[in-house]
């Protein structure tokens, strides 16, 4: 019994020491591939993120089509009143040249802004769809998945940005990461947007995100498949 005491004491001390020196932030254990750890390259990260965004956009497209099919029988009917999307305040490039003119940081910032702006509205959309009787559970689940995906995508893009910053690709002028704020889907007139309008706006914004990410990726990690 007495022989164990010193060993226990040593263990305790070691634990304490480790605890004191440990960091809270997660740091990658493996930074280099040859060490045996599988490190995701930036290209892989981009690919994942782009796949994510593609999935998100397809979901929004499906939901929007369902809406149009069941609730708005006539397409392009006169009298459609579109409220402005709440994300219209975010300046986004509306063409290829404009998008290519933007710097990486700005592009990344735009992406993050967009994703952040849709965090709460997507949650609201899912809630309202789940409560309404008009929607079947399938649509409601899609909305939920869409919201989760937007959240995941945002995290992923943040990771990519972090990686880029680590790799020195991004300058320090990136202020958008911290400035991204959640926005409420309130139109100019102050009315809450309807589900259809939300879906309409989100379909567009998810397309934007997907495109911007692709441009960003091909600009940063040019590969043969770009």
């Amino acid at each position: 019994m007495s022989s164990f005491l010193p060993a226990v004491a040593v263990l305790l001390v070691a634990l304490l020491c480790l605890d004191l020196h440990s960091r809270v932030a997660s740091a990658p254990i493996c930074t280099h591939g040859p060490s045996g750890c599988h490190v995701l390259s930036l290209a892989d990260l981009f690919d994942r993120v782009i796949q994510h965004s593609a999935r998100m956009h397809s979901l929004s497209n499906d939901l929007h089509s369902e809406f149009e099919q069941y609730f708005l029988p006539s397409k392009n009917h006169i009298g459609k009143i579109y409220h402005k999307c709440h994300t219209s305040s975010i300046l986004t490039p509306n063409g290829k040249e404009n998008a290519q003119k933007l710097a990486r940081e700005e592009l990344t910032e735009v992406i993050l802004k967009l994703l952040m702006a849709w965090r709460d509205p997507l949650f609201q959309l899912h809630q309202s769809m789940a409560h309404q009787q008009d929607f079947n559970s399938f649509s409601s689940n899609k909305a939920l998945e869409m919201g989760d995906m937007a959240h995941e995508l945002r995290k992923g893009v943040e990771k990519v940005a972090e990686r880029m910053r680590v790799l020195g690709m991004l300058g320090n002028s990136v202020t958008g990461l911290s400035a991204a704020e959640a926005m409420l889907p309130i139109s100019d007139s102050g009315e809450a947007m309807s589900n259809y309008e939300l879906l309409y706006c989100f379909r567009r914004d998810s397309n934007k995100v997907q495109n911007y990410l692709k441009i960003l990726k091909c600009r940063i990690v040019p590969e043969h498949d770009c």
């Binding site: 459609k80 579109y82 509306n94 063409g95 040249e97 567009r204 397309n207 495109n211 498949d225 770009c226």
Partner: protein, 580 residues
Amino acid sequence: MLKIQLCITGINYILTYIKTLCVSPPGKPRLTSCRSPEKETFTCWWEPGGDGGLPTTYALYYHLENSETVYECPDYRTAGENSCFFNKNDTSLWVNYNITVVATNALGKNISDPVEVDVVYIVQPNTPENVTAVVVHDEQGPFVRVSWEKPRTADTRSGWITLLYQLRVKQEKDKEWEVGLKKKRKCLIISYIYIPRERSLWIMITIFSVFIVLILTWTLNVKRNSVKLCLLPPVPGPKIKGFEKQLLKSGKSEEVFNTLVIQGFPPTTDYDELLVEYLEVYDNEEQELVLDGKDLSEDCMKSKSPSDSDSGRGSCDSRTLLLEKCMEGREGSGSGSDQHQYSQHGETSWASTESSESQGPEPGSPESADGCGKTWPVVFSSPQPQTHHHYQVGAAKPAYHSVPEILNHSSPHTTPSNYHQLHHQDIPQQEGRFSKPACRHSQSYNQFNLDGVGTPAPGVPPSPSLEYVEVQRVNPENMLLLRPLSDPNREPEGLDCAGEDYSKVKEVTNNILLLQRDTSHQCVDYYSQDLDNQADQCTTQQPPHPCKPAVHQSNSRMPHEGMRVMGNGYVDSTVLMPSY
């Protein structure tokens, strides 16, 4: 000639006039489609609705969503007739274009329906370029190599658009295309191995399988009998054992029916022996017998209970015997002889319980130890097999009913050594007072034979039990000799009628039960009685039937109604039980 010219001119004028008359504002144009090949520019086409007879001009106007500024189409020519081309500068993505076409002529204008267009959703890339298909011969066989290039305008390099390619193949004669998987934005050159032999392979496989099916069918056909046997085993038809069709055909019905006869059915002799052997006599100790004169009747009445628990015991029930006794007592006819021997005529079925061992042939002087016994006076049961007792129950009227008729002939009789007789000794015959003597008698007999009753008879420990006896024979004095079945010394000694079997009732007529000897008809005796019908009858039964006391019939009741003669000559005693 001049006339013709004049006519033509006139017609022209008229037509022109009509034309001028029929002019109208232009018809409504309609936007047919808008398309963007690379997501940077787009073009919209419309179709005119009709010019109305006048030269009409078309103009396309658009305005962006949430903006009231109306712009006109910048380029009407690049895309051809009735089209509008939006170049890169004029194209804005993720913005809705509200486009209308206005047709104008001298008489007026017409505006088409507006169309909302978002360029991102109308992207249709151009076709691949330089599509070539080359047949290449390799060691593995010929294959076709298809190569192409991306459309020129598509900017996939910057990632602005992503193109997927899909290969379609069909033979020259075919109508439909075989479509392959969509390939991602990849290779411009792709190899496609086309195996024209695939089809012949399938043909061969089909022929082979058909061949195999044919062989199987032929095999099954050849072996169909065995297959049928295997799958559907034949159900055996119904058969009668021993019955043969040939016999029937031959016409000998006797043989046929002989085969149908089951040997050993119905049981005959064995059955007889069985029935003969078992005569059951009950000693009912609980039955109270008060043989006072007054009480006698009461007892008689009492004993006339409706419920007769005579289940299976035949009519050797103590109750019936008791009643017999009562009746006998009432009759008051006693022989008066000192010794009453109750001999039983041969024909009567007498359920005799075997006697106890009692060596003493006579029970000795009846001692009335106690009151009239509860037990049945005549019926005894003792389980002592070594003794060979037969009781001859005389037909003494007083108190011994059971075979009252038999008792008619009371005569002294000396029995052989191995027989016992019930003697009524010292029985004062008293008119009207039978109870005592009866009791005595019963007492004596009780003492003689019954268990647990009073003073033990000399050397005779009574023990109630059942033992079966059989009628051995009828001696010349017309006494039915019985012997217990358990006696190992059963042997026909001095039988008057050798090999006789008195177990069968021949007939019942006029209150007469005829017992029939089995082998000969000489030993048939009559048994008749004219008792009152008041007393109950111990149902007449034959020895073969278990537990059958003597035949006792009353005039009133014909045994016919109660007796049931069975096919084999036996009488079912249970039926004869009187119902009160």
